[in-house]
Symmetry: C2
Subunit: 268 residues, 2 copies
């Protein structure tokens, strides 16, 4: 099993790559190829758009690569997402793609293009407290589709997608918006004020395309900065409220988020 | 000339209202009615949704009121914007509406409903350095349509709109999205990181509806928090880049922003 790592958003630190490479080596069931592009730095990004796109397209086209694992989020994969799925080489269609957070732009574009994507832990998660478990979960999923890695509320037969709420909000209406019809949609976010969560929920639940989703479940909304004054309702109340207003079923909580416990959600 | 002030977003402080009332009284050409709802407080908002909506609907229906001036932004007018334009009473159609920032949700909904709106200073701006000038500019516009209050780059015959970029991003695709066809679109923002400006520009310029705008001009992007690491390009470069990618003409800068110099942009 050969897994390629690229960084379509922000730069990966060498020590993070080394830690994950050591975990993979100790497992013995996977060969991890960290593309040198992952360590590039160009302002906010892991290299210029052209370099990030080229590395991604290179591993997508590589027939010897079984899966592509996004190194980390941050911001920037949206800048190359549309180009990444143009004129897809055949090997791109035989792989699994895994990531979350900013990589959600790629999950959306790739799923729309018919590729096999899942929302789940990334290489950078090794740096979290308990991060080894997240790395093993990601590899267990990529290497052997271990059902234990899956978000436990997923229902067989019901298609699902998972997104960072802010990423979801900012891809709606663009060329990479996927088809939400009948999909159970899992959302999570990190470091957004409650008023921003409320505004993003207004936006996504106000989308006629998104209202075709069968239901919404809420993952963890973590590191919410203090609202001044107190907002007046918590994140779950906010999500419930907008689902109710929009006539979208709210199906409770989901085991995803910006943390080591983040479970895998295959899109289908 | 009778102008009603309501607060569809966040609470107005009494001392701010007093300062603006004093300016209006000294002018002698305007009667300012600060609706008591403006001083309500309910968590993040100037009273519950129902109270903010009721006050807004009350002054919209009041035949003796010539104009409605939004007290301030913050966040929350989107929560009542759709209901505010339902079954419009006839007097609502005879008024001018003025505000910006979060009030952009109302400008969009009201313009879409055929009401007469303008993007410009609000009551709260008196608290800014040089804020008196912003108050006089708003009143000069509301009372006598003083052309000196207008954003200087507006072209006769070319319809225009102005929005806070983040507000614009989060209203796209919702029921309050106005028709951008042929419109020169002015954007501004405050206190957003460059990566957030970039992401919002990706979103708005990725909208087929917004690509029908004739051009974009950029107002001030102020109080941009530090990006770590440095983003790599400034706000104007970001806006230019996304306009170019989307095939939208970039027509340079605009004299609007979260400051006392903010000029008036009537929607048409």
């Amino acid at each position: 099993m050969k897994i390629a790592v690229v960084a379509p958003s922000c730069t990966l630190k060498p020590e993070v790559a080394e830690a994950v490479t050591a975990i993979a080596a100790a497992r013995g069931d996977v060969e991890l190829l960290i593309h040198p592009q992952s360590f590039l730095s160009d302002g906010h990004f892991a290299g210029p758009d052209a370099a990030r796109l080229a590395a991604l397209r290179e591993v997508m086209a590589d027939d010897s690569v079984d899966a592509i694992w996004f190194a980390r989020g941050g911001y920037g994969s949206n800048r190359i997402a549309e180009d990444a799925v143009k004129d897809l080489p055949a090997p791109a269609r035989k792989k699994q793609y895994l990531g979350y957070s900013d990589a959600g732009f790629l999950l959306a574009a790739f799923h729309k293009a018919g590729l096999t994507v899942a929302h789940g832990p990334m290489v950078q998660d090794v740096a979290r407290s308990g991060g080894d478990a997240a790395i093993h979960r990601a590899l267990d999923w990529l290497v052997r589709r271990d059902a234990a890695a899956l978000e436990p509320g997923l229902e067989p037969g019901t298609p699902a997608m998972a997104f960072n709420l802010t990423v979801l909000s900012t891809l709606l209406g663009t060329a990479i918006e996927p088809d939400f019809a009948g999909v159970q949609l899992l959302i999570e976010d990190v470091a957004e004020h409650e008023y921003r969560i409320d505004r993003a929920m207004f936006h996504v639940t106000g989308s006629p395309a998104l209202r075709r989703a069968s239901a919404i479940r809420m993952g963890r909304m973590s590191e919410i900065p203090d609202n001044d004054p107190e907002f007046g309702s918590d994140a779950e109340s906010i999500v419930r409220d907008w689902c109710k207003r929009a006539g979208i079923a709210f199906r409770g909580r989901a085991d995803i988020g910006h943390d080591a416990a983040n479970k895998v959600v295959p899109f289908k």
